[in-house]
Symmetry: C2
Subunit: 193 residues, 2 copies
């Protein structure tokens, strides 16, 4: 699954321009997929060359021209075919969790700030998803929004209930720069050629 396939998927819901596709990805998709213009435009060009999508140019008064793309039958079949395979395992890259792993090394204030910001993100995501779920559309869409809310709520609740643990451990740990345990260890190792 790549931006290419995601474009096919979005176009299966209706015609759209590259710009509009980007906006749609920034909607609920944003929570589990990202794509920039720099990947969307080339993908659409290639899909057009391959006959997966059709392209109609619309001249607009006082606006740049707009290219509206629509799925062709081969494009629809290709997307359906993709959906008939097994999805690859989810990939998560969380810098927040890397930071938490090394919580004892962070300056105390910074640790709290990182936690506060993260909690803020989740709250905002939940609010956004709940606002979007008010107008129910397709079953799949609703499922995914509900999923997002459930997972973000769990992350939020867990963090609010357990952050004191890392914050307490951080207070106990000596400041990184002054800790002998941290600076002594590599004195024993010297580069060898």
């Amino acid at each position: 699954m790549n931006v290419r396939t995601l474009c096919l998927g979005i176009l299966s819901l209706g015609e759209a321009s590259g710009y509009e596709i980007k906006k749609k990805i920034e909607g609920p998709f944003n929570h589990f997929y990202e794509a920039s213009f720099g990947s969307i435009y080339p993908a659409l060009t290639r899909l057009t060359e391959e006959g997966m999508v059709s392209c109609t140019k619309h001249a607009q008064a006082n606006r740049p021209h707009k290219k509206v793309y629509g799925l062709t039958t081969p494009g629809r079949l290709a997307f359906l075919d993709e959906l008939t395979s097994m999805p690859r395992p989810d990939r998560v890259r969380s810098e927040f969790l890397v930071f938490m792993t090394f919580a004892e090394l962070l300056p105390t204030r910074h640790l709290s700030r990182v936690l506060d910001e993260q909690v803020g993100y989740w709250r905002a995501h939940i609010a956004e998803l709940e606002a979007g779920t008010e107008k129910p559309t397709a079953a799949g869409h609703e499922f995914v929004c509900g999923f997002g809310v459930a997972v973000y709520r769990a992350a939020l609740a867990y963090t609010e209930e357990n952050r004191y643990r890392v914050e307490a451990a951080n207070l106990m740990a000596e400041p990184a720069a002054a800790s002998p345990a941290l600076t002594t260890r590599n004195a024993q190792i010297q580069p060898v050629d």
Copy 2:
């Protein structure tokens, strides 16, 4: 945050070879970070050149040589510096959720299989994390494992409680290939040059 920085982080917990670093990333880190040998080895080479890590070669009987890396003071400072910035927003790429978004287009049996497998993944992840948490180490590590369990449990519970919605909607939807709504639309659009 990249593989480079993650290597520094892992080395801050103790010396290790490239192979061992990879194994450690495959442990609890695996749930929120991935790295292959193809990214770890070049990263370590570069870090050595830059003086961020030291490297000691160990000859082993009946084994390939082993290069054990250790953090140097500049490396430790660089990592600490990284931890003093704000973490970037988490990135999730979930093909499973893309599939669910388009649940109505999947063959019914396939949809159920996808859901079953996903539920299986989560169960396995939870079991693995719970096995790892039995031997508590650092506070940060425990927090992260507990976080993983909480989030996976939420995902699992939500999916088990709500999968019937997408499965029911899928049954209602006509098979994609036979649906007139799906094939008629793009008959109205013709490529324009």
